[in-house]
């Protein structure tokens, strides 16, 4: 557990180092998401809102050891050649040809005490359909899904959490899925593990 947390911290430090090198940017003003309130995410100077209501976050997986997030968003300019943005166990992997011009990709995490317990992030840009599906990854280890008897999955917010399905990454540390557009994504238990009771026979 401690090991995992330390690893998360290293990622954060690396992310900051990358910022300094200009590969990934954190902070900067962005427009508040237009969706309903209220799990809040932070930029360096402002707070914006996740598209999912805070009252719905409890359905998502939680971190066993909550990451200590102070700067909770990252951005990276990625062009038609593709690229990858990693941030605190979350990631975006843009294949070649997904965008036709250099585009700013972002990952925002909640910073309020309740919201940041959950494995959830807002991926950007919004309102853009990718030409090729883009992969996103969310943390699996150090979350309540690890060791769950039922199948873990990635869900996206569309007035309710919608199951997108997911696979584990090769290192087994993250859940991965692909999507043609961005929104707020979290991880959850599919709940498909209830008791098997059959009729007849």
């Amino acid at each position: 557990m401690t090991h995992t947390f330390r690893r998360a911290g290293q990622v954060f430090v690396l992310a900051l180092a990358a910022l300094a090198a200009g590969c990934t940017d954190a902070g900067g003003p962005t427009a508040a998401a237009p969706g309903a309130s209220l799990g809040r995410v932070a930029t360096q100077s402002t707070e914006t809102e996740l598209m999912a209501p805070a009252s719905e976050l409890y359905k998502l997986a939680r971190f066993r050891t909550k990451p200590q997030v102070t700067i909770a968003w990252a951005k990276k300019w990625i062009g038609p050649e593709g690229g990858r943005l990693d941030f605190l166990g979350f990631a975006i992997e843009v294949p070649a040809g997904a965008v036709d011009k250099v585009t700013m990709f972002t990952i925002r995490l909640p910073v309020d005490p309740k919201g940041s317990e959950h494995v959830v992030a807002e991926f950007g840009p919004h309102n853009q359909q990718f030409r090729v599906p883009v992969a996103i990854e969310l943390p699996f280890t150090n979350t309540t899904l690890e060791g769950s008897p039922t199948l873990p999955t990635i869900v996206w917010w569309n007035d309710a959490w919608v199951d997108m399905g997911a696979t584990l990454t090769a290192d087994g540390r993250r859940l991965r899925t692909s999507t043609p557009h961005f929104s707020t994504y979290g991880t959850a238990d599919t709940g498909r593990g209830g008791s098997i009771q059959v009729s007849g026979g």
Binding site: P149, L168, R192, G194, I196, G201
Partner: protein, 435 residues
């Protein structure tokens, strides 16, 4: 020197190895569960069931209860055999065989699966030379059902298939449909969803050909098709089958099937994050007059829902209700399932006393030879072991689970176990990994 309390381990060593004392052993294990005040502590003092303690009062209460249960059982057994003997002496061997089947059913209802199997075996032997094949078809089908309850999947399939074949030979479509549904049910427990679907769909075609008859069997197939579509993640299809099934259970009285349908509806609503509706469905299933084993499983599902909602104390309460039903069912298998479930609950909120419950589940599974339960428990337990630093133990558990799943033919679970073994191999100390 007198003792105020002794451990379960000490007590079980006192008992002679008689089958008749099985009820008492279960009662003692159940009585050793800690009181609610301490149940969810993570104290290592509770880390294994063998070290739990019992007072003399606990033991005397357990003796009293098991004696009452045993006396009731003996009365049931002898009354049943009286009917068998009378029919046999009157020259009606068919009726005698059916009485033996009825006696087996009463054993099943009391959670005595192995006793039931002995009764059905006797019915089958008696029915083999008879010209009327109905008792044989029924005995084979019941053997299939009880073998499934005991997780003997290969035997269950063989009995159901033989029953279906015989029914087809004598052109008894109704019996054929029931047996073929049983074949599908075995495949469900093996996690062979697509094979189960093929079996159910083929059986449903037989039902549809019967043109409006066999409504009960149609509803049962709707239940099962809903269940497997849910397992396959085809939620709209699952919803459609459930709607059709519920229409039947509104018109036809079959509390067990209705409860199964509602439990499946609860699973679906939970998956859809419609938690209030999931709760309503589970509670409605629990309110129906169904056998304790069914209540135990649904109460365990509702407990998991409560945990998801963050209602930990309600989850704990329901888990204990589930355990009581499992004990009332007298079924070691159901009880083992409950302990595994409680281990998962404890693990989910970080309590280390998950060890205790997993150990209990494993103890029952191994003593009784429930390979499926053992494998499932090992898979869940391994994660807790890994999390608490026992990487090598966890790896050994996973390897054992993998071997069991392979023997059982549980395809999906085998894949999960293989993946888990592979993942954990990277965490093993170098020397252990090289072995």
């Amino acid at each position: 020197m007198s003792l105020s309390e002794v451990t379960v381990e000490q007590l079980l060593q006192l008992l002679p190895g008689l089958d008749e004392l099985e009820v008492l052993r279960l009662r003692l294990i159940a009585a050793a569960v800690p009181d609610p005040e301490r149940q969810w502590d993570s104290s290592l003092a509770y880390s294994t069931v063998d070290k739990r303690i019992l007072t003399l009062e606990d033991v005397e209460r357990s003796l009293r209860q098991s004696q009452e249960e045993l006396e009731q059982y003996i009365a049931l057994l002898h009354a049943g055999l009286r009917d068998v003997s009378r029919s046999f002496f009157s020259g009606n061997a068919e009726e005698a065989a059916l009485h033996l089947v009825a006696l087996g059913e009463r054993h099943e209802a009391a959670g005595r699966a192995r006793g039931a199997r002995s009764c059905y075996d006797a019915a089958l032997r008696l029915s083999l030379p008879l010209g009327d094949k109905r008792p044989q078809i029924l005995a084979l089908r019941r053997l299939g059902r009880v073998s499934l309850a005991l997780a003997d999947f290969a035997e269950a399939t063989a009995y159901y298939e033989r029953s279906a074949q015989l029914a087809r030979d004598v052109e008894d479509v109704h019996a054929q449909i029931i047996a073929r549904t049983g074949v599908g049910n075995v495949l469900m427990y093996q996690g062979r969803w697509l094979d189960a679907e093929a079996a159910y769909v083929a059986t449903l075609e037989l039902v549809e050909a019967a043109e409006g008859r066999m409504v009960l069997e149609r509803g049962q197939l709707f239940n099962n098709l809903a269940n497997l579509n849910y397992r396959l993640g085809r939620m709209p299809e699952a919803e459609g089958w459930l709607t059709r099934a519920l229409e039947i259970w509104d018109a036809v009285s079959s509390p067990v099937d209705h409860a199964i349908c509602l439990a499946n509806l609860g699973h679906l609503r939970l998956q859809q994050a419609r938690l209030d509706e999931a709760r309503t469905a589970y509670e409605a299933a629990l309110a129906l007059p169904v056998p304790p084993s069914s209540k135990a499983l649904t109460a365990a599902d509702l407990a998991e829902l409560c945990l998801l909602e963050g209602h930990v104390s309600e989850a704990e309460k329901l888990a204990r209700v589930a355990e009581e039903h499992a004990i009332a069912a007298g079924s070691p298998y159901t009880l083992g399932y409950m302990y595994r479930n409680r281990g998962n609950l404890a693990k989910a909120h970080g309590a280390e006393d998950g060890f205790t419950f997993y150990e209990k589940a494993l103890q029952i599974a191994r003593e009784k030879g429930y390979a499926s339960l053992e494998a499932d428990t090992l898979l869940d337990y391994a994660e807790l072991r890994r999390r608490t630093g026992g990487v090598e133990e966890a790896h050994a558990y996973l390897e054992r689970a993998r071997d069991l799943f392979r023997d059982l033919g549980e395809v999906e679970s085998l894949a999960r176990a293989e993946k888990a073994v592979k993942e954990l191999s990277g965490e093993l100390p170098v020397a252990a990994a090289a072995d």
